[in-house]
Symmetry: C2
Subunit: 346 residues, 2 copies
DNA sequence: TTGTAAGCGTTATCAA
DNA sequence: TTGATAACGCTTACAA
């Protein structure tokens, strides 16, 4: 490992001169500058990261904590954060909590499990002296990530910070539910069932609010019998499809693509033709929505937008000397309805 | 930021005593140990990362360089590497080259583009003094990652290192092609077409070799007319399905699931029933293979295995003082045939 | 059992 | 324009 000192010796100058050259200070003669630069180039010298980080107060590093990298939503968000940071000449450090790998779904209501891995990770990022932290949740909910007196700019992507001092970047589920329902109504549907996710889930609740708002605007009475709850997995869609169809509906709003696929399977087995006998809209725009038949009209979650927005947010906080005084805000990234072949105009 | 010095002052002892306690040295009295530990706990002290890294020679950090985090294969591999490292009490640093985000497919044959981002990343990891580096490729090919005289233990996951000094962990494509073909033959098929990927691709070539080997073992003559080449995207499967079916085959081995989905679409539009009129096997076991109808029999790529194996490999190298003398090896992780409903026994 | 002091590779301050 | 030196927070050899 070549060091500043060695460069200085090779050039016959002092280490501070070399340091000044590297850091673009103007108090160096052109001649020595050229000479030193040549040696640096030739030796492939790179400043030692730890020494630099120790001496400077700012590291130009953004810490990213993800609940689980394997979740379908995480990698695109992280990719977008990294793209933004790279662009702004910031480095990133990724910490993968691996919540799902470790505990599957059992950590979900267990605040202690989460904190037991989250706190050491935050401490670690603090000890690295990162300039900002972005927490990337696996699904939307209120999360106690950062204490109220946390000193580092931070934000929560795809989740909502419990502490009001930190910003949250989420998808606009209410608008998503609203848009999808409006679309179905515009296609002539008035009796619209909902294949919902778990009842206490924020995605479920918000999307249902949007559904209800759209119905209200069109003077359609909300009927709770048309709502069925599942667990986001395709099996639950399959299971509830039969109950749903009994209600004399012409369309179903599925709150994710996987359950929509389950509904497809039920209808397929019962000789009901999706896109003809019944219309379906999904949510997520996962790859399967493009390949099941008929291709599923669905609401795309703009994960890259969420990542980019959260990175932008954290950069703003870091530039703002008074970020601690400003109020939190929840940024809502809209979803995008992708029209395919699963909805029939009636 | 609380420091060792402050802890020492609060306890009325010297910093070396505190340091010794933290690092589990035995030359400290129980009384002071308890007292100091209490203060450390109360203050939430964490050693400064940079200072520690600078002082010690080993950092217990593994660097992970990925070609693009957004590729479907990358996150599971990385997740498994991180799991293994966490288990061994190693940290990881992830560098995302974002090759696809930046250049889509144009970097593929452009060594210069790759090196222009790879070299600075490697330099960075060297300057961080990581103990080992794992390069995670986006698809299998020979890659010039690390120079022959590279001093740090390194390995290539999902790709093959050009330098013979570093190990490579890849999937066993030949066996995968062989197994799938054997399975089709066991189901009574003897005229088996292949929907291949790009011709010069290692995955394509190896899987075809396996296909050929299986045919040979069953005394079936290899017929090049039964091989069609695509570009891994579903459109190319759709395009070539018509040509393939003309050849009077009873089954098609698709070299990935996306092209299989394209083939499905063609047959669907032409009233040919997959799983009955024609049998299909895919490759990858992507989520879609479970949801297209009939569910696709396919070869699962064990990405987590690849990640775990590469982490294990690098740990072995790090423990081996003589890793530089040992010869390289290519570890082949087998694929796993997932039987579903797309193959009919005839 | 505890403390002193050197040193890791930088950057910043100040003097030459 | 250049260089000596202190400091960042830690570990470790050695002294007390």
């Amino acid at each position: 490992m070549i060091t500043l000192k060695q460069i200085a010796q090779m050039c016959g100058v002092s280490i501070s001169t070399v340091s000044n050259i590297i850091n673009g200070k103007s108090n160096v003669s052109e001649a020595t500058k050229l000479r030193v630069l040549e040696v640096i180039e030739r030796t492939g010298y790179k400043p030692n990261y730890f020494a630099q980080g120790m001496r400077k107060q700012k590291t130009r590093i953004i810490g990213i904590i993800v609940e689980d990298l394997d979740l379908f939503s995480t990698a695109p968000i992280v990719g977008a954060i990294m793209a933004y940071c790279e662009n702004q000449n910031y480095r990133t450090i990724l910490i993968n909590l691996r919540l799902y790998s470790k505990w599957q779904d059992t950590w979900y209501n267990d605040e202690q499990k989460l904190q037991s891995v989250l706190q050491p990770s935050i401490k670690e990022l603090v000890s690295i002296k990162v300039d900002g932290i972005i927490y990337v949740a696996g699904h939307c909910r209120v999360i106690n990530c950062f204490p109220d007196d946390f000193k580092i700019p931070a934000a929560v992507a795809y989740g909502i910070s419990k502490s009001p001092r930190f910003s949250s970047i989420v998808i606009d589920d209410e608008k998503g539910g609203y848009d999808a329902t409006k679309y179905l109504i515009s296609m002539g549907h008035r009796k619209i069932g909902v294949m919902a996710g778990t009842p206490d889930n924020l995605h479920t609740m918000k999307r249902l609010m949007g559904y209800q708002k759209a119905l209200f605007e069109e003077q359609i009475l909300f009927n709770p019998d048309l709502i069925r709850y599942g667990d986001w997995m395709s099996e639950s869609g399959f299971r509830e499809a039969g109950n749903l169809i009994k209600e004399d509906i012409t369309a179903i709003l599925c709150l994710n693509d996987l359950m929509a696929a389950g509904v497809y399977n039920y209808f397929y087995e019962h000789g009901i033709e999706v896109g003809n006998d019944i219309s379906l809209v999904g949510y997520d725009n996962k790859e399967i929505s493009e390949y099941i038949r008929p291709a599923l009209t669905t609401n795309e979650i703009q994960l890259k937008e969420i990542g980019a927005e959260s990175a932008k947010m954290i950069m703003n906080m870091m530039e703002d000397d008074c970020w601690e005084c400003s109020t939190n805000n929840v940024i809502k990234v809209p979803c995008r309805l992708v029209i395919r072949d699963s909805v029939k105009k009636i």
